[in-house]
Symmetry: C3
Subunit: 313 residues, 3 copies
């Protein structure tokens, strides 16, 4: 798809003094005359101006580094504007159910749904409009998925939760009923080979706009808020609550019945003990058990100093 | 499926003073007259009695909270009884090989086996009776699976192990032969996207009644005992032994050739160094390297106290 | 396939005083007259000599333990020689695209490629000669795979990376363009249910001879060197560099933009903070944040000593 420079400028809420056709986005090194690039700082702007790019997205207040180049379009957030342009130029993805996908006759699919080869949509699942299900992904029976949701390859949504009742006499485990629902709200994106369990009796819910990376596990009856970011290999045990806007970095682990407050940022490999709460909007936590990152770093420093003192004696 | 209240009471080894049809289990909030609910404590019992549920499973010794309600059936373990009722009411799941599953002609399937769409059963695999293989799961060649085993969506059983011989001159790695077996005993349940490798020369074995959550990795030549519980994202390196009744919480990691003693409980994110043993039935261990949980918590407290003292000076 | 003892001896660069047919490799306990076994030390050699094996690979300098047995073939590295023999005896695996695999017409496959049932090769993907793609694996569009690459069951290569631009006003996330490539060089082996993302604007690259275990995550724009070993459940965030010959043990986590130097060994569950570098060929690092293993162990000892002193008072 192609857009003119003036259409692009209008899209990102700015203006430009020339017109020409733009067809793609790229890094400066790969740019040609029909290419949009972006520059977050002055160094990047210098590199962009030196490239063959046809249009350069730069910060509104940028001076120096080539900010007076006629190809420069000034915006508040060049990276965000660049992502907007990329989406506009990509156009609509081809919407089709691959002939080698398996969609149960009782599943209901919205408009313009894309289902990849080998994907399985089980009985009673409901998908909104413009949903994309990747190859070899599985949407288990009865799962409800909103609009514009993207599920990558190999993900499993709505699997049986991991809850058991133990026979005290024999030590054997009996599956606790796992008959609840999984609801995935609009604009959620879910990574490759990620698994999200259905509720046991109630529901598991992933809030609108939340983004989930690859190989993440989310247990039964969790409630994940809106615009939450969950990086790769995070593990969230059953019945956790993660409030709106929280960010969980890679390999974070939450015990069951935890609560992560709105806007909390939890650093990589951090852990929260079962039943505990972590709170403080915009605050960064780290370590296991998670504590404010500044404290976490001080603890490390204290131990290392002590160790080195012992070594000297 | 429906059962009478008297049939339910008999199933859980108790009695009831009325009769009526029960058709499902649910949480009190979702209960109606044909629904069974359970109450582990007095608060829950009060909630259950206030609901429309037709039958309430409560502790044998419970007093107060509505324990004299005529719908109450007294049992030793209400949660366990509830799970028993759920299984009885669910009836037999529909047993069928989905037309879009791929079962190699040389694989042998027992009675009443269920294979989901997109699942692959490779050459020479053997499945016992009442086995359920989820959509898009893969049972690799020659894997032996007992009766009543449940394998969830996307799991891979019997993959090539990760063992190499290094060429000292070139630094290149050559696959060590991975020609052994994987044996999964009766009543094992295996989560979505979990991977279990076959043995290199010998076998990998998962003992009877063991339950494994999503995204778990079990390496070649491991021997996992009976009634072991392995939570999500646990990683077990090659040649480990996990004895009967052990519990590994989420994201635990075992180096190769570890041994976890019978009944040991290892807390979330805990780690065991290669070749080490952790022992003590019913004892809880935590941290990396794993130590008794009380010691682990004391270590954390000691470091934090020291850190805060430094801060004050 | 069968080979004579003299052919085997020649293959491993040694000699033998008799001839006979060998057909397989095994552990001593499972060996018969047509079987090759190996012995890394004297104890193992004693066990091998006591077995029915037809040929025994032992260290060149080995004395005692039965080193004078006529079946013994002396080599520099018995384990490596054993792996060589196993490969030679295995012969060529059956190369075929399973009728239930899905290969897009625009994908290009080399000679003798094997594709398992349920595997999906998307548009424009390119596979070299002698590549093996396991059942239910997904090779996403445009991924380039070299020769002799092995991809196990359920792996996803070339999935959309996890990069977003945040709308500062609304808190919503917009996908940053993920239009780059994934290049997998010759002789790479990739484990079951592992996920590797394509580049955002540039490329993700896995270097020649690198071996990757199950459930590993490698983010967009990473550059993994040659003959790197990456154990199960390792997580590598975007834009990391792992140099040639490095070894990452199980559950290691790297923040984004990390660099792991050539030949570095990083112990299980170790973590590296975003943007940090770990360097020192052949040196072993451990813990989070990773430090030389000797220091890591001293830190643990110091804390435990302090804790036990407190307890005594």
């Amino acid at each position: 798809m192609a857009m003119t420079a003036r259409e692009i400028a209008a899209l990102v809420g700015s203006t430009i003094g020339f017109d020409g056709e733009l067809r793609c986005v790229a890094a400066p090194a790969d740019a040609s005359v029909d290419t949009i690039v972006f520059a977050q700082d002055e160094d990047a702007l210098r590199e962009a101006v030196a490239s063959a790019a046809g249009l350069i997205l730069a910060r509104a207040g940028a001076v120096g580094g080539g900010a007076d180049d006629s190809r420069v379009v000034r915006v508040a957030d060049p990276k965000y504007a660049f992502a907007l342009c990329a989406r506009a130029l990509a156009g609509e993805p081809e919407a089709a159910v691959h002939p080698m996908a398996v969609v149960d006759p009782s599943a209901r699919l919205g408009e313009r749904v894309r289902v990849g080869a080998g994907a399985v949509i089980e009985a009673g699942a409901v998908l909104g409009d413009d949903v994309s299900i990747g190859s070899n992904a599985t949407i288990c029976q009865g799962v409800e998925i909103g609009s514009r949701v993207v599920v990558l390859q190999g993900a499993v949504l709505g699997s049986t939760g991991f809850g058991y009742a133990r026979n005290a006499a024999t030590g054997e485990y009996l599956l606790f009923p796992q008959q609840g629902r999984l609801v995935v709200e609009d604009d959620v994106e879910i990574g490759a080979n990620t698994t999200i369990d259905r509720g046991a009796l109630g529901e598991t819910r992933i809030g609108r706009g939340t983004k989930i990376d690859n190989l993440v596990h989310i247990g039964h009856n969790c409630r994940i808020g809106r615009n939450v970011v969950i990086a790769a290999q995070v593990g969230i045990s059953g019945s956790c609550v993660v409030e709106d806007g929280a960010v969980l970095a890679g390999q974070v682990g939450l015990g069951d019945h935890c609560r992560i407050g709105p806007g909390v940022i939890l650093g990589g490999q951090g852990g929260v003990f079962p039943g505990k709460s972590v709170d403080g909007p915009g605050q960064v936590f780290a370590g296991t058990p998670a504590e404010p990152r500044a404290d976490y770093l001080k603890s490390i420093a204290v131990v290392r100093r002590l160790r080195d003192q012992k070594a000297k004696r």
